[in-house]
């Protein structure tokens, strides 16, 4: 049986019917990893021995009692390397945390473990989640499984590529400005950024606290609902988390969208977006219309300020969040220094990559007392306006649909030094993070054998709405679950 191409729910059913053991599943995925990891490079750390041990333990449990089994029990998962895992290296893709082994688990990891999930490793990412291509990792460049010359997107590129390449059935990523949806779209998988506060951030190494959110990357929408079910919930260790865990998101997976009102923001279909992508997304919207949804164009007038607002606020928060990496308590410490100040300066100079330094510097500038009002404060005000834009639309519409990315996955190295142009790849995704609303991307077509993502946004805590639209589309189209052929003999690296 070819286990690696199955979804969580398919694997779950096999386990429940005792047709396959967790150990067999984990072994299959590790042999897939051994087969393709060299080419794709999704992982920073693999934990094979521990995973097999955990699988055997779960199998024992399954033998004893199958009734209390969670949907995720015995099924492998990849965890983005900015989510801390007790006893497993958590590097954030950075030299500065190269050898950091956290003494505790993130709340989401704790929840997954309670559900019997098997962690196979930590996935590659742009350093501290800063970047949109996973080229900013200190350790390796992850390749897009659809074309190994292209980027997988970022910053959860390792997670997206791992799911796309069937190295894991699902993975966790994190999103600050689009870091789940953008790589999911580039790699042709499903990616969800939940409402801010729905999933605990405890244990997620902060990039920009008021934007960050953890979310799943999966093969299909049903899996996405399953994973969401197990990671949501109020966490007393995160005071920004909310109590909303009585909902079963798999109940939202119905195919009836008759009367549903879909808004198409004209700013999300403007000339910055690849016209072929627009066309494919509008085709998908037509499918939904045929199924009974009502479509109308709307305006989100402050969209043009979203990217500037995002980079101002996120960099400001990042400059402060990353100050803890000073070489004093953990992680890398510079070898030769005179005095404390030099220790801190040298450690940070040696430990951080260019993109991280760039953001720390602009964030420090934005927060400095002489520029605070001009930038940070103004950006806060624009943030409020963007939130109001969405509230207005959601007074009349159930969901908003747009492309997920303005372009198809681009070539590795193409935008590495053109960081403004790379920032633009988040243009369609940042607004949801600014407003804290949920958004999902699902594959809706392929152009030249490269996937196209459709983004569905909902109102705050409207995960059920977007899941039901995504599910309906998925069930009424034939684009989902196409697997990339990972070509042999491709030029590896750049």
């Amino acid at each position: 049986m070819d286990l690696i191409n199955l979804t969580i729910h398919e694997l779950r059913d096999l386990i429940r019917n005792r047709e396959v053991s967790s150990e067999e599943i984990v072994k299959s995925f590790f042999s897939r990893i051994e087969e393709v990891e060299d080419k794709v490079g999704s992982f920073i750390t693999l934990t094979k021995e521990k995973a097999l041990e955990d699988a055997r333990r779960i199998d024992k449990k399954i033998k004893e009692d199958i009734t209390s089994l969670s949907d995720l029990a015995g099924i492998p998962v990849g965890i983005k390397d900015n989510i801390v895992t007790e006893g497993i290296k958590t590097t954030c893709g950075s030299r500065i945390l190269e050898n950091f082994i956290p003494p505790y688990d993130a709340t989401v990891v704790k929840k997954l473990k309670l559900n019997g999930a098997i962690i196979v490793g930590k996935t590659n990412m742009d350093e501290f989640a800063m970047g949109s291509s996973t080229e900013n990792s200190t350790f390796k460049i992850t390749k897009n499984p659809w074309d190994l010359n292209r980027v997988p997107g970022g910053s959860s590129g390792g997670s997206a590529a791992a799911v796309s390449a069937s190295e894991v059935p699902y993975a966790l990523g994190s999103s600050t400005g689009g870091s789940i949806r953008q790589p999911a779209a580039f790699c042709g998988v499903v990616g969800l950024k939940p409402t801010y506060g729905l999933v605990s951030r405890y244990g997620l190494v902060a990039f920009a606290s008021s934007f960050d959110q953890i979310g799943p990357l999966t093969k299909d929408v049903e899996d996405c609902a399953i994973v969401l079910n197990s990671i949501v919930g109020f966490d007393k260790k995160d005071s920004t988390s909310v109590d909303n865990d009585s909902i079963d998101y798999t109940k939202a997976l119905i195919k009836d969208i008759r009367g549903l009102k879909i808004a198409l923001p004209k700013e999300y279909f403007d000339n910055r977006i690849d016209s072929k992508i627009k066309e494919k997304v509008l085709d998908a919207v037509k499918t939904l219309e045929k199924l009974g949804a009502k479509i109308d164009y709307v305006s989100l007038p402050h969209t043009e300020y979203a990217l500037a607002t995002y980079y101002t606020l996120a960099s400001s928060e990042a400059s402060s969040n990353l100050a803890k990496f000073d070489g004093v308590r953990y992680g890398k410490r510079a070898k030769n220094y005179n005095g404390v100040e030099e220790l801190i300066v040298k450690t940070r100079t040696e430990g951080f990559g260019d993109e991280v330094k760039r953001r720390i510097m602009i964030g420090t500038y934005f927060l400095s007392s002489s520029h605070y009002s001009e930038y940070y404060k103004k950006a806060q005000k624009v943030r409020t306006l963007i939130i109001r834009d969405f509230e207005k639309v959601f007074n009349e519409f159930d969901v908003i649909i747009s492309p997920t990315t303005p372009t198809l996955p681009y070539k590795i190295g193409e935008k590495k030094e053109k960081f403004i142009s790379m920032y633009l790849s988040d243009i369609l995704t940042v607004s949801a993070n600014i407003a804290g609303i949920p958004a999902i991307t699902i594959p809706c077509s392929y152009i030249d054998d490269l996937p196209v993502g459709m983004q569905i946004l909902g109102k705050a805590f409207g995960e059920e709405d977007i899941l039901s639209v995504a599910y309906t589309y998925e069930k009424n189209s034939n684009f989902q679950r196409r697997a990339p052929k990972i070509k042999e003999g491709i030029k590896n690296g750049i």
């Binding site: 958590t90 993130a106 902060a206 606290s209 400059s319 402060s320 100050a323």
Partner: protein
């Protein structure tokens, strides 16, 4: 020339909460280094702060006791700077929107009552502690990292070191009364920064404000202020001005020394702490805290004057510390003689505490045992003087006075026939004195009584001895 001194204070008080401000680690002082630490208070990657509700409550309590307005909605901010004992690269504090604002303390100065206005009281976290070893290495103890603090900032309303001292003592008493801080300066739970300058009242020329940091005793604070006051005046008299600088008090040199000259304002890049939600305080909560506020020193003083008929001076001394006031009241409940209790407390007990550099809370005996001592005196079982000796033993050994008196055989001799025998013997040995008395030298009486007391090692009941001798002399 006349100079006016201007002093403003910033006081950090560590709160008496059981746990730290953002995690459940114990906030206790004096534990083995780096044992009360977790990912949150060590600022580990991924860890998030969650505000301890008690901290908010304690800050409101302090705010109410210091007559502040309480903000219904406030928030925490980040203050960014690098320092090895600062775990996150920023300190979580309140900046633009403190929980308490615009209060005051009334102090009693030689020029009458005066209001010292309080600008703000805000919540913040303490940092870790750096210790330097002989080789100059910095060793870090993070037990204190995340211990909750309130910072109380005054307006520059104090015009002499003496006023500042009165203010600090009163503030300390209030914080102790409402039980938000133990204010133990030697343990660092009360620290104070001073902003000071002087103004030439004729020319209006001001010296530049100097900041003296981290004074850890009232004595040092007063000395530092006196030193600075003099330094500022001397410089102005020479036509010079002070520099904008931060200084510290050097205990050994008995002077302030420069820590750093402030050429530019330090930029802490404050911004709202995004990991925490707004602090919302509803009126009911404030009302509830207000209703449960204990009696404050000023009210207690008035009550002591009224209910115990004490002189104002006594009432003021006794209510200067809640523990002292409690000790007084508990003792009075048993011994029922307020003025006597007050005399002993203000005299011998405070005297001994002072000598031994102890706090009333560290005393080895209980108020019950103190009441027992007074009972022994009042019942005539021991004299006042023996009482003082017994008290000294109580201070040292913490024993019950009844046991002390018994063990040391200090019980007063009030047996008339026994005393008569001793008096006879003394009179026999001092015939000349007896003769002198009869010739009208009445002073001799005192000498004879003294001889009896000496013979009985002070145990004889002096009144009775007096009576017996007089009777015998008149015979």
């Amino acid at each position: 020339m006349a100079y006016k001194t201007v002093i403003g204070l910033e006081i950090h008080a560590e709160l008496l909460t059981k746990t730290k401000i953002f995690c459940s680690c114990l906030a206790e002082f004096g534990k083995e280094v780096n044992t009360h630490c977790c990912p949150v208070c060590l600022g580990f990657p991924g860890a998030l702060p969650v505000l301890n509700k008690k901290v908010v409550e304690y800050c409101i309590r302090a705010g109410l006791a210091l007559k502040c307005e309480i903000s219904n909605k406030s928030r925490m901010d980040r203050k960014n700077y690098f320092y090895p004992d600062l775990v996150k690269g920023y300190q979580i504090t309140q900046y633009s929107n403190p929980l308490c604002k615009n209060g005051y303390i009334k102090i009693n100065t030689k020029d009458g009552d005066k209001k010292i206005r309080i600008k703000r009281i805000h919540i913040e976290e303490d940092t870790g502690k750096s210790v330097y070893d002989e080789k100059g290495n910095i060793l870090l103890d993070y037990n204190r990292s995340g211990v909750p603090l309130i910072e109380i900032v005054t307006y520059p309303d104090m015009n002499s070191p003496e006023e500042a001292r009165i203010f600090l003592e009163k503030l300390k008493a209030i914080l102790q009364y409402i039980e938000v801080s133990d204010c133990k300066m030697e343990e660092g739970s009360l620290r104070c920064d001073i902003n000071i300058n002087v103004i030439d009242e004729e020319t209006g020329i001001k010296s530049t404000i100097t900041e003296v940091k981290n004074l850890n005793s009232f004595k040092a604070a007063v000395k530092a202020m006196e030193f600075e006051e003099k330094r500022h005046i001397e410089l102005l008299e020479q036509g010079k001005n002070t520099l904008k600088e931060t200084r510290r008090w050097d205990e050994n040199r008995n002077e302030t020394v420069v820590m750093r000259v402030k050429e530019t304002v330090e930029d802490y890049r404050y911004f709202p702490e995004p990991d925490l939600v707004y602090i919302e305080v509803d009126e009911n909560w404030i009302k509830n805290i207000k209703e449960n506020l204990p009696e404050l020193p000023e009210d207690k003083k008035e009550r002591f004057i009224r209910d115990y008929n004490l002189p104002e001076y006594d009432a003021k001394v006794l209510t200067s510390s809640k523990k002292l006031a409690d000790f007084f009241e508990e003792t009075v409940k048993i011994s029922n003689n307020p003025k006597q209790v007050s005399n002993w407390l203000m005299g011998d007990i405070l005297g001994w505490l002072n000598v031994k550099n102890m706090d009333i809370s560290e005393i080895k005996f209980t108020y019950k045992e103190f009441a027992d001592l007074l009972e022994l005196i009042n019942e005539g079982k021991i004299s006042n003087n023996i009482g003082k000796k017994v008290l000294k033993i109580m201070f040292e050994e913490g024993k019950n006075p009844k046991i002390i008196v018994k063990e040391k055989g200090l019980l007063q001799m009030s047996n008339a026939s026994e005393l008569e025998r001793i008096v006879d013997k003394i009179m026999e040995e001092n015939k000349q004195s007896v003769e002198d008395y009869k010739k009208g030298k009445e002073k001799v009486l005192g000498f004879l009584i003294g001889q009896v007391m000496k013979a009985t090692k002070g145990k004889a009941n002096p009144q009775l001895v007096n009576k017996i001798i007089l009777e015998k002399l008149r015979q």
